[in-house]
Symmetry: C2
Amino acid sequence: MLQPPPAQPGMREDEVDTPALLIDLDAFEANLDTMAALVAPTAAKLRAHAKTHKSPVIARLQMARGAVGQCTQKVAEAEALAWGGVGNILVSNEVVGAAKLARFAALTHIAQVAICVDHPAHITAIEAAARDAGTRLSVLVEIDAGGNRCGVPFGAEAAELARAIAASPNLRFGGLQSYHGTAQHLRTPEERRAAIAAAVEGTRRTVELLRQQGLDCEIVGGAGTGTFQFEAASGVYTELQAGSYVFMDADYGRNLDADGKPVTTFRHSLFVLATVISAPVPGRAVVDAGHKAVTVDSGLPLVWQRPDLRCVSASDEHFKIEFGPETTSPVIGEKLRLVPGHCDPTVARYDWYVGVRAGRVECLWPIVARGAMA
Amino acid sequence: MLQPPPAQPGMREDEVDTPALLIDLDAFEANLDTMAALVAPTAAKLRAHAKTHKSPVIARLQMARGAVGQCTQKVAEAEALAWGGVGNILVSNEVVGAAKLARFAALTHIAQVAICVDHPAHITAIEAAARDAGTRLSVLVEIDAGGNRCGVPFGAEAAELARAIAASPNLRFGGLQSYHGTAQHLRTPEERRAAIAAAVEGTRRTVELLRQQGLDCEIVGGAGTGTFQFEAASGVYTELQAGSYVFMDADYGRNLDADGKPVTTFRHSLFVLATVISAPVPGRAVVDAGHKAVTVDSGLPLVWQRPDLRCVSASDEHFKIEFGPETTSPVIGEKLRLVPGHCDPTVARYDWYVGVRAGRVECLWPIVARGAMA
């Protein structure tokens, strides 16, 4: 059942029902503009990752500022984008199962799509899906850029898969997927730079090897919010897959710049608005949001601009907030903005974004790929 | 957007699309029956907590076995149950906000409902909602049974709130809410017994004080899956609010019995079915489920009946599984049952339960209160 939206345009922010997923539109648009400005002078293009926002509205705002398309991790996410007017989508992930691949192949009627593989079994299955759908599918080889998750090693094994794709009658070789996930949250710029330098070197070597074999990489994709400037400057990567930059989160907020201070390139624009429902003893307040409203996989949420209020524990529908005697207790009914520890899985819990500006609700956007895990 | 179900009745389990939320119906029904049998000889009744299952179908199965009604944490959950035929619902939580209270009051037309307070401000607001709706609402006082979350202390402060409820023209005093949340996961039975003994003692004292003041507690509610047998035997608690027992999870599976072995009263009946999408190097497999499919707030999921497969890390749409050289690698396309660390927030990510028995899909049940956080 779709939940009703927690707000209507024109409401004051303090009238929004809670918990609600707020976008601070000024900060959000600044993030869109900042990314566009940072990418424009480089040889790379942005292909923003929609696993963060799950919204064709936001995808189109990114593309209006120069993004060439979108990434998704799932076929169901790609469907939601394509149905919402996004014309160029890379599923930056392996997809297994005939039903899913048939759904993926069907998207070629309305969008330009591509998908990733790291094993010959994937190629065989995608070739069958393309043949059955009477279409031709673009396939990238995923290489393990250092995150030790999916992907073949740099070099010969990648070339072998690329040749197998090129030799498949209903497939075309689309390039390389080379995303270093664990590098994104390394705290110092030196650590992030070193991790990406190794990814760039291995990717460059693989691109070269493929070229020698007559296989050009139309796409060399990777990078995230923590590292995209390194990949953009590499001359190897052609597409940058940052997603979290539109919203940021408490965990990305702990990444440091060269001065040892938190990186300030992008602003926190995503908040969970929560209401204080109980303040039973001095020093404690409890809000109407918990595990089901905000993920804690990257730590408990922060209370926005209130370092004196510390979120200390979570249960299904409650966060417990503590504070010292110098803080005046939040009162029952008071609304607090929480900064999620991790934006992507928090977004995935909601049906609606509530866009706010200058204290008023300006827009509601449905999170149409909420639950799109197939 | 509601996601399509990942299965159809009659399919084999290995044909179910992934990720999918499976109920092993044999284990699930055994849990329902076990709880009914354990509660029947006691003076208490089961009022199962629907924050676990979010399904009027499951609520009605519990009530068919003797449960007097359901608990929810949220008004939107109560709506979903009432609309699905559940006639007796306690919102076991404080609710703040005129819009939510108006929705709550509207439920009195189709169900018997009650709600909790721990501050005079709650009583004033609920009285206004009842008056505006032209109805009379039943209100319980929440006491802090030891979890240090919401609730007033045992004794005089609770009695003061009870008198204020009884004195409100459109409210009736319904009893006490006395749930000790943190006791549920204390690992040894001695720890759980001691925590609940203190809760029982304080609750008994409060009930007695109220009785002296002419206020009878129709409901004295509390207890969860980890402790309900202690509350049931107390002679003080009239209603038991266990929820997780229907499914269990990896965290509850770590509770110990008197012999120091994992408690076996209830069986794991809830699983996330996931597909191996990559097995790029010896000793590693990656599945198509991650943070968005299974919460990790109580630890990473276990692989069902495969202690040789260890889930070692999570990203948004992937769990990485590792294993030793003695294990034959799972192959791409192989489906694995994951046991969630924490059932409630995992359920809250899905639109559908897929009920399986003897390797076949027997039923699909919509999780109608998915996203019901208001």
